[in-house]
Amino acid sequence: MDELEQLKTFRAELPAPDQETVERSRASLDRAIGSEQHSRRRLSTPRRGLILAGATIGALVAAVALAVVVPSLRDTSSSSARPSVIYGDGLLAFALDTPSDVVSHADQVSLVTAVSSTDLNNPTPDEAAAGEWLIMRNVTFRVDRTLWRRTGSPQLTGTTQAVEDGWAYKDSERTKFIMRGTTWIEVGSQYVMPLSFTNGEWAPLGPAVFPYVNGKSVPAVTQESPLAQAVAGRSLEQVAAIYAAAKPKPDAR
């Protein structure tokens, strides 16, 4: 018997889960499903358009959004009327308006480069039937330099991936789609990015991610929070100092 065969017998006789164990775990999943369905109903008609699944937008704005409403492209059916950018609106699970908010929820803040991107073009049957959907992007980021770390947190080095805004698709045309208050991620560009380590995975805190251009932090046009104002035009050293001086909120994790 070779080493693999021996390893296959190691703890092989441990019993399968009993019915109560299965039911408890199934109840956890059912609660998550019910929570998402509840969020969808609650946000059903504030604006006409698509409402994305929590799973999609969870990644879209770094696991902080509960639900997203995207203006419908039906309102802009002729090509000439189509905007160059469509902005989506979202509800955030927690605020990211100040440096204190960032150090309350992030595990590290790093200068990163977007090194590659893959489109996630997966319309649901309903979206396909309606003829419009969102194409998200799976973006790989390389950590170039870390500006701030939470004491005791794991450290991200190398690369990480995140689902980012992409395109609204309709009538064979793509229009750039961005969550309001966040920046477009461009492959080859650098960003000052707070990241949270949750359940074994790193995720950017979208509204607190700012482009880094010519040696300065430069918030996007819809990034108007006090945080954006605080870091606008600042060098990496200055941004690092802002986060180093920020105090986590008393109820921070």
């Binding site: 021996q6 441990l14 019993p15 889960p17 998402e36 997966n122 649901t124 074994g200």
Partner: protein, 205 residues
């Protein structure tokens, strides 16, 4: 069944109809639980298996629905969750190697001798404890979850070459650890281990 939906289709469909995700729970819960159970024991396995499916549901928008099977993805999530437990897993393996009593086996399991059938159990435990987290993940996804090398690469989000090298190193370490007892007659565990095993069984019955 003709035209049975692929698991990519099921995940895609669950974006519009979240309850459809339950199909994947029904298909894979037992396998995910069994894998986690062998690595960290019953209590943590239950928590982690439940969290695996909740997490998969919440991040299903990232799943590449062109993939026919969700199995590597789910094992990848489960393995990521184990990252928080790697020190405890190692301590338990070391304890097993030291005492011959496997801490992940409970009296309620009603297993003969309370340990796995192989006499090489403590030796394997010591060898597994000596592996890096990455090597152990690859080896056990291969041996226990029965994923192919390509599926392991998919599950862990790593390069196929990395999987090959880690698996090769891990197998070599296990082979070297087992070599001495392979030379002993019947691969019998040390007397002390057998004695402790029996004492433990008696005291808990």
């Amino acid at each position: 069944m003709l035209n049975e939906a692929s698991e990519g289709d099921i995940v895609a469909g669950s974006l519009a109809e979240p309850a459809r995700f339950g199909i994947l729970f029904d298909r894979y819960y037992a396998a995910i639980y069994a894998y986690l159970r062998r690595r960290v024991g019953a209590d943590e396995a239950e928590d982690l298996a439940a969290e695996t499916f909740v997490r998969a549901f919440r991040t299903r928008g990232r799943f590449d629905v062109a993939r026919p099977s969700a199995r590597p993805w789910l094992f990848g999530i489960a393995t990521n969750l184990l990252l928080h437990h790697w020190r405890r897993e190692r301590r338990r393996l070391q304890a097993y190697a030291r005492t011959g009593i496997d801490p992940v086996v409970s009296p309620a399991d009603e297993i003969d001798e309370r340990v796995d059938a192989t006499a090489a159990g403590p030796v394997l435990a010591r060898a597994l404890a000596s592996l890096s987290v990455g090597e152990r993940d690859v080896l056990l996804l291969h041996a226990w979850a029965e994923l192919s090398d390509a599926e392991i690469a998919e599950a862990l989000g790593t390069a196929l070459g990395t999987v090959h090298s880690r698996l090769s190193r891990a197998r070599q370490r296990i082979r070297e650890a087992l070599a001495p007892i392979g030379k002993e007659e019947g691969a019998t565990p040390p007397d002390e281990t057998r004695t402790r095993r029996r004492e433990w069984t008696n005291s808990s019955s």
